[in-house]
Structure formats: structure tokens, C-alpha cells
Amino acid sequence: MPDDAGPACALQGTPLAAALPGINACVHCGFCLQACPTYLALEDENESPRGRIFLMRSLLEGTVTPNDESVRTHIDRCLGCRACETACPSGVPYGQLLEATRATLREAELPPAAARIILWVFSHPALMRIAMFASRLLAATPIPTIMSKISGRAGFGMAMLASAGSPLERDAYFCEGDGKRGTSSVLLGCVMEGLFTETNRATERVLTKNGYQILDAPGQGCCGALHAHAGDLETARKLARVNIAAFERSPADFISVNAAGCGAMMREYEHLLKDDADWRDRAAAVASRVRDVSELLSAAGPIPGGRMPLRVTYDAPCHLVHAQRITLPPLAVLAAIPGLELIPLRDSENCCGSAGIYNLIEPETSDAVLAPKLENIAETGASFVATGNPGCLMQIGAGLLRSGSRARAIHPVDLLDASYAMQQQ
């Protein structure tokens, strides 16, 4: 007869204790193992969803403590890609469990200084603007490209910067639409507006052309995803409230998001603020208006553009495919470009290793996860890798640059925008 473990009653009152029902949904079947990038790269079940959930359960059973080195290492090494969620028959809300665990561990010991500094900057709009301004200045020089080949994180960071922005030059074109598909505000985001400014403008143009009237939503800021993933739920909630208030002021039907990670976060605002009676319903109302830009575009067709004979492959951002379960709309966007040849990417739904700031904090594992992605991209022979998330764009872009590949990472919206520009010539 089985010797079932004792009840889970340690760490009462922590976010982890509140997450117990989600932990209990795991029956340990192991169907998540092959979906987990860190398990495949590191070959130890502690680096798998099933292993990490076992550790979470053990924390609640009191068999390990939040200071335990093993626990911290394995929880830290999770990318948070949530590929296990689309593999899990039992519906374990892994992303929420991970955030609750990190929040609980954080109470025992703070994360590394590098992570804290980055998150601190992200939570202060003025600092963020300075950081992004400095990054743009640097990105405009040849320095990042030159330094991108040096080994280590500094070189990788430079390669990321060199890959920021759209790699496709296009002429300005006159853009008008009938606005009959409704109104939309756009989440500008921090990294998107800072380093992918042109992609944000392209987003506004392609939405307009496809029948959405764009409405400003002043006062918006960082979505809080990076903080939530790191377990700093308090800061995440603070940032969420700012955004909720800003988007409540916009009468737009939709809130269009072109960064998969931010879209996933905003759709979960209700869960983030579930214990805040004043904000929970407001969060739910804003979350229900959130759409990935590809969803709005595919609902409208989208309208075909001018011919662009390019070989393109598509890499699905984890927070689009696994967190938001959006698979086909980005392909519809690419299909609206005549002449574009879409080459399937093997394991397109596997993580690239970017995972927010993971590639800066856990470089070795990030590199190990990126390596098969680069091999699979090389196999396609494509000249562009389309993917709709700034982290993935810079991670894959940096990987391509450093491996000497001539392929470039690009947002699908930039391809569609260039195709529209081409049409008007």
C-alpha cells in the first residue's frame, strides 16, 4: 500500500501555500519532461516541471526549506517558457506556480544583484527612458556590432543591442483605413518603444490599414511581466495598476500588444490582482480587451501587401504559443505577403532561451537552450526568422550574429509593413 506523504502545511500564508490546488493537480505523469527546454539541455529531472513541482510540494510539506540551495538553483533555472502547460493533461497552471514559488523564496533571500538592478530600472519610467536613450545612442554606432564577437555576456549583450530594431529598411508610405473594425490602443512597452520604435510605428500603420482606428493611451508604462516572473509580485501589481488606469481612460475596443510576453502578462492581470478587491474587476475588464497584434490582423484578413520574395521561417514566442495559446494568427500575417516563402522551423514551439532577463542571469543554460534553435534555423536556409517578442528577437538575433549567420530576426509586423510600403511604390 502506498505511503502517501503528509499534508502540505508548511509556509502558511505565503503565495506558495495559496498555490497548493495547482500543485495538487500534478499527478507526476511526466508528460511534461520532453516539452521542457532545461530538462532536455541539462538532463536532470530537477530541471523539469515535474521536478520543480515536486520541490514546491516539498517546500509546503516542510521537507525542504526556502533557503535550501538545491531548491533555489532549480527554481532559478526555470525559463518560465510554460511549454509544460500546453503538454499538461491535468491543466497545472505552472506559470502561476513558478511566480508564487519565486515570490515565496524571495522572502527568504533576495535574487542576485544583477537581476534586482535590471528590474529596478524597469520599474522606474524615468530611469528606463535614460537607459533606452543611452542604448539607442550606442546602437546607432558600429560599436555593438564590432564588440558582438567578444566572448562572454558582454559580447552577447552587445550582439543583442546590435540586433535590436527592424533589419528591414522601408520607405515611408501613406497609410489610411476605414476604421470599421473598431478602435485599438497600443501597448507601447518599455523595450519595444525603447529599442523597437519603428516596429511600434509599423504596428500602428498595419492596424490602421486593416481597419482599426488607433487611439492614444497616455500614462501607460511597463506591464510588470519581468517583475512577476522574478517573484516580485508587489512591484508587478504596482505597474499593473498604472496600466489598468491608463487603459481604462482609453475608450478603445482593443488593447493591441506586439510583445508576446507583455500580452501574456496583461491577460493575467486579474490573477495578479485576485486578492485586491478594489482592482480585481478592473483588471479583468482591461485584460479582456487585450489582443496580440496578430490576432487583430488575422481577424481582418489581413489585407495583402506588395510582393516580397523572401525565404522566411517562423519561431513561436513561448508566451504567445504556450501562455496565450495563439498559433495560427502570426502565420496568417506572413501569408498576406505575396512571394514570401514560409519554411517550417523544426521545434518552432521550443524556447530560444531568452526568457525575459534569463539570458543575462543564467547565461550557460540560456546558451544551451539557444544552440538547437540556431541549428534548426540554419537547417531552413531562411534569410529571416519572424517572431513577435522583443526578447526572442534580440536573443535569436544575437545568436545568429555571433554564429556568423546572415539570417536576421524580425517582427512579423515589420515584414507586413514593408510589404505594404512595397505596394505603394
Binding site: 502506498p2 506523504a5 493537480a25 507526476h28 538532463e43 516539498s58
Partner: protein, 489 residues
Amino acid sequence: MSNVALAEKLAVIVGDRFVLQRDGDLLVYNSDGLPGYRRKPRLAVFPGSREETVAVVRALADAGAAFVPRGAGTGLSGGALADDVVLLGLHRLKRVMSIDQENLRAVVEPGVVNLVLNKTIAPLGLLYAPDPSSEAACTIGGNLAENAGGPHCLKYGVTLNHILAITALLPNGEIMSLGNPEGEIDGYDLRGAFIGSEGCFGVALDATVRLTKKPVAVRTMLADFTSVDSAAHVTSAIIASGIIPAALEFMDEATIKVVESSVYAAGYPSDAAAVLLIEVDGNEAGVSADRDAIEKICLDGGARAVKVARTEAERGRLWQGRKKAFGAMGRMAPHLVVQDAVIPRTKLAPVLRRIAEIAAANRVTVCNVFHAGDGNLHPNIPYNADDPDESERVHRSMGEIMHACVDAGGSITGEHGVGLDKIGYIDLIFSAESLRAMCRLREVFDPDHRSNPGKVVPIHACQEWRATPAGRKSPASELVAVSAESQGV
């Protein structure tokens, strides 16, 4: 040898990162696919190559240390639990070493995941037939150790029929070839003995597996019934008609509901008392005729409707729902017992009725999802283990169900193995004499009982045998003597 000294010795072979000895690192390895059981290994070691595996097993032999081989840890009988012995994880040995398209075979390492092998050979129009529901995670080595089954084993046979040869590493570090790639058996079929030995005879360094041509035509049908009895009778009637479907699977109402609420929702009718998922394959003319015949048997037997998958995607969904059903049961309660038993197919209806009675009497919910075509039952019970009363009722039900299956002329395991979970039931089906014979066979491969100790055959059975004067003779020498005689030496 002390734990620390042994760990150091092993780390020299596999590297520090692949020897685990901290409590926190070993926690997840306390369980396999049946987390109701927990056993703490003294340490865990994960060799990354064939050479490392041989060196590790030899080092363990030198140290006299017992070990438990483990693949992906998806087993459902507690077979991969290491109780204060070394856990030997073989999941890093994941190379498909060669594919011989002409002779329809491949050589694979034990850590190759079943579905990864199938994905690798699919572009060649080939498949590896045994398809346990855990195919997305479980390894060929684990399949070999458990003689794993799966839905399609009804027509194609179990793992035993698809492993032609094994390079076995015995617990003493000796390497042995069992069987041969041509499929001819010379002398005793030691390959047959090794397959299904649940890790008690040693580990496989590689296996030569049989590949099967993908059938030209496939029809996948979903027959829906308003009574469990009708579904059970139809199952028997289909086989009695002379048709051997590629697969014939049963799911009851509770299972259908839980699958339909998961990401693997397959479109099963949630108001049905039971569904049968039936697949026939072969050439186009044959499957069309079989499909018509099966549809008629189903409708005559009381099916409300028989739906046929029209596209490969639809077929895939019907199968995914079935294969992920057990995992989906986590939605119903925090804990789950998964059971495995076999009964004569003709007894399906009365045994399912008996199971329903047992469940009602003990106030538990049984979810039936199983390989009906070969009478391989899987009654699963979701429950809350923190409630001692409920826990008691669940485990009592399981015992009663096992007895009901044995009374119906069945056996205590169809495909999950005995491991730790079924060891208490083994006396129901084997005499003391049979168990002693099993002990003797085991000792041919592992005289010191160092490989997966305490599993399959209860220790008392072997101890009794050892206590008899005849038993003290070396069992291996007895068998060798017989073998030499038979060859006229």
C-alpha cells in the same frame, strides 16, 4: 564504501554534475510515475555514454553497491524506486545509433524516448509499434524492462515482439549479447527472459528494435454507448468476428469528462456511458471491409453512433485524448492510484459491473480507461490522500478489484509490471514453487540481488528458497549444467 567515497568515485567517471547526493536534489527521484510511493536513493548517478555506464556499473560492483535502473520515471508500479540504494539514471543515453531501412530495424540506446524514435523514423514511412500511453516521455530501455504494452499491441504485439537483440550489461559489469538482429533464437531465449525483468537482471546498453512499415490505410472509429455492458459485449463480439483491430480501447463516462475538460479534449460525447476507440489498419480494401463490419457490430450491439475520423488531425486528437487520459485525472483530486490488471475479454461485462459495485460500496470514483481488446484493465481512482478515511477506502477498493480480476481468471498486471506496488498480490497468482523458480532465474543474471533489489518477487519467497539445502548450490551452475547437457557437451 561510504556514500561520499562512492559519490567521488562515480563523479570521476561521469562528472560532478551527474552525481546527486544532496537531499534537495534527490527529492524528485524519490518517486516515479506513482508518487504515492516515496523512497530515498542513497545517491543518483547519470552516465552520459555507453563507456561511462559500463564503468559506473563496474564501480558499483566493486563497491558491492546495489542499484536501481531508471529511464524517464514514468513507470506505474514503483519499479524505479531506490530505497537507500544507488539510482542509475539511463536517460542520457539517447542516441539512435543506426537505422537499417532495408531490414526494418534500428539500434537504439536505452534512454531514447519512445516518441522521439517514432518521430525520427516517421519520414522513412516506418514506425516502432509498441505505443504505451506515456510514449511522449517513456524510454525504450524502460519499455524493455517492463515489457511495455500500449493500444496498438493488440494487433502488433508487446515490446517482447519488437526487440530483436539486446546488449546487456549484467550487474557484475559483464557485457552479454542476448538474441540476434536476424530475429533467430539460438538456444535458450535469454532475450525473452531479459525483456520484462523489471531491471532485476541488469541494464540494456542498446537494443535492436524491429521497425514496422506504416500501414497504407487506417480507419479510426469512435463508437459511443449509453451502457457500459453494451460496450463490453461489443468488444468481445468484434474479436469473436475474427477481426483483430490495430487497437480497441475503452473509456468510461468519468474518463471522458475529465479528458474533455483538458487541453487534449478530443470531442468525445460527454453524455455517453462509455466509448470504444477502435482502429483498423492494413490495405485500403481490407480496412474498408473491416470498418463496415465493425460499424455493424457496434450498432447491432447498442452503439448510439459510430464516428470515423476524417482527417489525420482528427485521428490524432482522438488518440491524444485517450493517451493523456490518465494524466488528466489530476483535475479530479490531489492524488491518484493507477491500477493495471488483466482479465479474459469475455469477462469484461461482469468484471466491470463488479468494479462498479466495489466503487459504490467503498464510496470512491473509479475511472476506467483501458485496452479492451486484450482485456487489460486500468481502473484508476482519484482521491485525497490527506483524508485517512478516504485513503483507506481507496486502497481497500483496489485490493478488492485485484481479487475480482484474479477470481475471473485474470492476472495482477497487464503491462505496468509488478515493481513494488503489486508485490503484495503476487501470491494470488503464483505458487511458492513458481516464485522459487523465478528467484533461481534471477540469480543467473544477478546472483547478489544487487540490481533493483526488493522488486517483483517478494524477498520472503527467495529467502525460503535460499534456506533449503538444495538452494544453497549455485543456481547459475545448475542452469549452465542443463544447458551444456542439452547441447550434447
